[in-house]
């Protein structure tokens, strides 16, 4: 075990320079934490943009608080201009999906957890891993810069439908859209390097005894997510490059007047976009599974069907993209095919929900902050999943497509689903990452405020959608049939601001606990996982000696044992490892 001897030596005296240790680090734990800070920053940016959107929708045509500070071209007299509004909508979606939620789930947890949870000293390609993080800097930087260039940032929606996006004359956006494309291509490269690493690491670097069906569901989920990313993100990169060429060197891929196909953009985008939806929810499912088993002190109900359900979702995720395009002018017979595949993909999601309920059944549920967030994930994912069924039915989709019903659905999945799981994960692994506990009391306050205001913000959006309110509309009061719905918009806006403010509690708790938090022990949650058998935070090289795995990942409340958890490294005889 020469390599491990080396790793141990590293752990004993870590002689890396400051820059190698904290800046250009190849240690997966440092990279995960770097991703955490970066994506929380982008979460803040995306959230602020959302506040701008909500102000305009709640109080159209009124000056925004502090809006006077913005340049006149962006917000004349502090009032959001129509083009600014379109930019806000576009950049909110872009930042949240590509730079906040995806790196939070994949960049943070895949990097931090995979090697620790499978008993590897680091990733398979640590240097590529470092590049994967450092490419996010130019990518996010270009996207941020596009907010400030002449002509404004991309204003064609986060889906940047061609030809609006491909032809500057139509959108009035020149450089902003090109920067958007460039940023997404670099993002794709970063995601690719990360995913190659995650897949190879899980395939080749599992500790002795860590068989495929002993992998925790979080690792399974992150592995499947990486597979999805490997297959889907290159399609986006290819499409975005074509879009960029349409704008810069005069190609005609999406320009109908010379034989290009605008619908081809939508097909390519959603061939990436739908797997992307699962990239954003599968890791959340995995994280929630780990935390729910821990909180309920019970093995996960139906472990192998959970795994097969995720594999099924991953595969079916590639054959449902057309359901974003039911009303796009696509052949209606093909749309029917997509309706069936979409309906089928709901089944594995249902299985997962029932299995989580089965896990809680006859458990001994500890209501810790991570557990509360994980439970919120389950209950919100139920709503998001059920509202998706409306869209799967093609005739109903004809009415609700492109309305606030869709906006409600996506936020129930991406905020109610993914973000609650992200919060759960941060509260849960914070002691491992930083060696200190976050405050449980303030964590619960944050959870309660978020849960309440989140629902008050997004649930009424269903009603707006049923009333027919279109998304991405600068001023809904232009329409007679939407004017009666305006009080709902005001209500949503107020709650959205309160939801935003509630996150200050999280920020204070997160930053405060870095310095003042109670010192964490090795295994504060009494969890069975491998990462809890090493120090908090783990040393460089992770484990003092190669761990050996003897059990499945969720051996809680095993009959005949004193403790209610059995760490995976405990040999079957009961002797301590």
């Amino acid at each position: 075990m020469t390599a491990h001897a080396e790793a141990v030596a590293h752990a004993a005296h870590d002689d890396r320079s400051f820059i190698r240790k904290y800046v250009f680090s190849t240690d997966h734990k440092t990279i995960g934490i770097q991703f955490l800070f970066l994506s929380l920053f982008f979460l803040l940016v995306g959230g602020l943009l959302a506040m701008g959107i909500r102000w305009q929708l709640g109080f159209p045509g009124q000056a925004m608080p502090l809006g006077g500070w913005l340049p006149q071209s962006v917000a004349p007299g502090g009032v959001v201009a129509p083009k600014t509004y379109n930019s806000l909508v576009t950049m909110h979606g872009t930042f949240m999906i590509f730079f906040a939620v995806m790196p939070l789930l994949v960049g943070v947890f895949a990097n931090y957890l995979i090697p620790l949870k499978i008993g590897a000293p680091d990733m398979a390609f640590p240097r590529l891993n470092m590049w994967s993080f450092w490419l996010m800097i130019p990518s996010g930087g270009l996207m941020l810069a596009s907010l400030f260039v002449l002509g404004g940032s991309s204003a064609a929606g986060w889906t940047v439908y061609a030809p609006l996006s491909a032809t500057p004359d139509y959108s009035g956006v020149h450089l902003g859209q090109q920067l958007w494309c460039l940023s997404i291509v670099i993002f794709g490269l970063s995601s690719l390097l990360g995913s190659v690493n995650y897949i190879t690491t899980v395939v080749n670097l599992r500790a002795p005894g860590m068989t495929w069906f002993r992998l925790p569901l979080s690792v399974w989920a992150l592995f499947i997510t990486a597979v999805l990313a490997i297959l889907a993100v290159p399609i986006l990169a290819g499409a975005v490059i074509m879009l960029l060429f349409d704008q810069t060197i005069g190609t005609h891929f999406f320009q109908p007047d010379v034989g290009g196909q605008p619908l081809m953009w939508q097909h390519l985008f959603w061939f990436f976009g739908h797997p992307e939806v699962y990239i954003l929810i599968l890791p959340a499912m995995g994280i929630a599974s780990d935390i729910i088993a821990n909180g309920a002190r019970k093995p996960i109900f139906g472990y192998s069907s959970m795994v097969y359900a995720m594999i099924a979702i991953a595969f079916l995720g590639f054959v449902v993209w057309g359901h974003h395009m039911f009303q796009s002018g696509m052949n209606p017979t093909l749309a029917s095919t997509f309706m069936v595949s979409t309906i089928v993909i709901a089944v594995p999601s249902a299985i997962k929900v029932f299995n989580w309920l089965g896990t809680l059944w006859r458990g001994n549920i500890h209501f810790t902050t991570p557990m509360l967030n994980a439970l919120a994930f389950v209950s919100m994912f139920i709503i998001g999943g059920l509202s998706g069924i409306f869209m799967a039915s093609t005739p109903v989709d004809m009415y609700i497509h492109g309305t606030y019903f869709i906006v409600a659905h996506i936020h129930y999945v991406l905020f109610g689903g993914s973000l609650f799981a992200v919060f759960a994960g941060i509260y849960f692994w914070y002691p491992k990452m930083f060696g200190r506990q976050m405050s449980e009391r303030w964590g619960k306050v944050h959870f309660a405020l978020t849960f309440v205001f989140y629902n008050l913000t997004f649930f009424p959006m269903h009603i707006l959608g049923i009333g027919g309110e279109m998304r991405r509309i600068y001023d809904p009061t232009v329409y007679d049939f939407l004017r009666p719905l305006q009080p709902i918009n005001v209500f949503i806006t107020i709650n959205a601001f309160l939801l935003g403010l509630s996150q200050l509690v999280f920020a204070a708790n997160f930053i405060g606990s870095l310095f003042k938090g109670e010192k964490a022990e090795r295994n504060p949650w009494r969890d069975t996982g491998l990462e809890w058998t090493t120090a908090s935070p783990p040393p460089h090289g992770n484990f003092a000696e190669t761990p050996h795995v003897y059990h499945g990942p969720y051996e809680y409340s095993v009959p005949g044992m004193d403790d209610d958890f059995l760490p995976v490294t405990t040999p079957p005889t009961g002797r301590a490892a």
Binding site: V227, L231, I235, Q261, L263, M264, H267, F271, F318, V319, G322, M325, G329, M330, N331, P332, L334
Partner: protein
């Protein structure tokens, strides 16, 4: 467990085969056969060449089956994408 265990294939023979197939391809184009026949035979020849490269030069033939599954994974998806989009446009 590595590649050294199998007998190295005759690379020069495969090279000759690839060269011949290329010549045949170009010849087909200049013979101006019926359009459909041209397309079908060219696609067939291209796949044949691609397979030769993948199986022998990239020695997929001698790798464990599980690696083969990883490699084959994207092909059905690529096919689904292209075929679906081709049929996605509304009929006249």
């Amino acid at each position: 467990m590595e590649a050294a265990e199998h007998k190295a294939p005759n690379y020069i023979a495969i090279w000759g085969m690839l060269a011949i197939l290329t010549v045949v391809e170009v010849a087909i184009v200049y013979f101006r056969l019926p359009r459909r026949l041209t397309v079908v035979s060219l696609v067939f020849l291209a796949l044949w060449k691609a397979l030769l490269v993948a199986l022998y030069f990239m020695h997929l033939r001698f790798e464990p089956k599980r690696l083969l599954y990883i490699v084959l994974a994207p092909l059905p998806l690529a096919l689904i994408l292209v075929v679906a989009v081709m049929h996605g446009f509304r009929g006249p």
